[in-house]
Amino acid sequence: MQTVFIGELKSLLNAVAEDMDVYVPGKAETHYVYNRYDPAAKAPVEFNNIRTCTPIKEFLFPLRELAAVFPEPLEPKDIKPFAVFGLKDCDLRSIEILDKVFLEEEFKDPFYVARRQKMFIISSDCFEPGESCFCNVLAGRPFAQSGFDLNVSQVKDGFIIEVGSQKGKDFIEKHSELFTDVPDAALSERDKNRIETQTQLEHNNTEFKLDSPVQEVVGDSYDSDVYDEEAKTCVECQACTRVCPTCHCFYLYDTKQEDYFAKMKMWDSCMRLAYAEVAGGANPRKVLGDRLRHRLMHKFSYFLDRYGINMCVGCGRCVDAEAGGVDIRVVLKKLNEELKGKDKAKAKVAK
């Protein structure tokens, strides 16, 4: 992959901002959230060490949007190109997951398609992983490998920029005067940083490591008591699904305006009691533990079965957001222990 070097982040972002709106992470207390980038601002640009607290899906699949208008049909509005800086490997993987759903051949979501085409993705390496980051447990890494237009790695003297797409290549060529060749020392520094971050992640998550692939751990855990037990403290705030970058359930509802009718599309949550209820009152997941199980099985079994990848990237946002203290890492670990117990029992019987 082509790489170039730049001394400061600001000149890179200013160049991007010439052609489009740019969104950058900013510190909000202990977390990062996205703000519109202002090239005129004096303050230095923040380099987020980990993913933001809000999910990237907001840029592609907003919390609430107009899905249809009638009697006159709605065309997806002319979405202007926009750039988002500071996505991490987990964020890129979450986009890959959403693409499977909303870019599906047979039923493409026109609004998602429009935003996806116009999004310019500038990812960056992680360092000092957050307390809840556990991507390594799910085969993630603290640095991006694909799915970006540009990737930025911070080193002592500046930033290494990796080109990941034609869009990225065109941008670098257009602004070639901004960049220099990457010093050899910078490349080895980057590699060292990456290894250090990976090691730290592994160290942080020693207690959550799984002994079998996650799809086997979750498997068909229909008879497991873990879900009911772990759901005991859940207060149904649904925050886990709102901040999840891969959860994509939505709710369609109709509204009346003065001179037209509209169909709206809004995020929904499978943890909500009435989520699966039908008009007659039947509801297959009345019990909270059943809803927690459905959420995990969707992520680690059903999605894999349908699309060939897992639907969790280990970003840990749900762990941070949980009001009831339900920790997906703990749920997985308990299922892991349960499976180990079962395997042992089987081995004993075999003997």
Partner: protein, 273 residues
């Protein structure tokens, strides 16, 4: 420009037929060409109010209009019942798989229905009788709460029963007035020799409790789980396997169903709830 899958086709309510105290059939004429396979469903929008899934009850061969039989069960269906002839509604779809009619060829088709569950079955029934020679027979067992609750009374009580190759038996939970026929739940009128189980498929549609006990009875008779076709009712909203509301295990009822064999669903919990 990709077609907007959330955009309904404007349609006119051309007629409204009172079927029972709680059920009406709406004859709907879409402004654009609209074709469906029997057993597929549509999302019907009452503009500004809401949307709900229904399986058309007419034959797919009628491409000019579509019958949608609706029981008053919740907010949207309540508002639909207040609709008048000439009013505009929206239609999205058709969605899902429909009944695999070709797999039924040469076999006895054993149809068991309850209540408003006769709506999708009527569409299937009309499709089957259109080419009745392709099937060994069509055997229907249908139950309603009271004689007044039967829908499609005009055809069900007369013309349909006279079609060659068709055998229909009816029952009610509670008899009244003139009713001289069976009394009891529909499973009570199912008999092991109604069809030749080795060369038959069963199609079940009705309230969840009726579907559950019918399925158990059919299994008891010796039907294979893969020969029992269930028309599942879940909270289908987007219709295209994205919004998640209708999931049963790994399946999206809207996309992989709504018709499933019992074999596909039997290992998932709470499928009847």
């Amino acid at each position: 420009m990709i077609q907007n899958l959330y955009q309904p086709i404007i349609s006119e309510i051309a007629d409204i037929i009172d079927e029972s105290p709680t059920i009406k059939t709406f004859v709907v004429v879409p402004e654009e060409e609209f074709k469906f396979k029997t057993g597929q469903f549509v999302e019907l929008t009452l503009p500004g109010e809401g949307e709900a899934p229904f399986t058309p009850s007419s034959s797919p061969a009628d491409t000019e209009k579509m019958d949608i039989t609706i029981m008053k069960a919740g907010r949207v269906t309540g508002l639909l019942h207040d609709c008048k002839k000439g009013q505009k509604v929206g239609i999205r779809g058709p969605y899902g798989n429909g009944y695999p009619i070709e797999d039924f060829a040469g076999k006895e088709v054993y149809i068991v229905g309850g209540g408003v569950g006769l709506a999708p079955i009527r569409s299937l029934f009309l499709t089957l009788v259109d080419r009745i020679k392709d099937f060994k027979s069509v055997v229907c067992r249908y139950g309603a709460r009271t004689p007044d609750d039967f829908i499609y009374k005009k055809t069900l009580f007369g013309p349909w029963q006279k079609i060659d190759g068709v055998n229909i038996k009816l029952t009610v939970d509670e008899a009244n007035g003139e009713w001289k026929d069976n009394v009891g739940v529909v499973t009570a009128i199912l008999k092991p020799d109604d069809v030749d189980i080795n060369n038959a498929v069963a199609v079940v549609c009705g309230p969840p409790i009726m579907m559950k006990f019918t399925t158990l009875k059919l299994l008891e008779f010796g039907f294979g789980a893969e020969s029992i076709y269930l028309s599942m009712e879940k909270n289908m909203s987007c219709g295209v396997g994205k919004c998640g509301h209708c999931m049963i295990g790994k399946y999206y009822v809207c996309k992989d169903g709504p018709v499933f064999t019992y074999d596909q669903l039997k290992d998932y919990p709470n499928i009847w709830d």
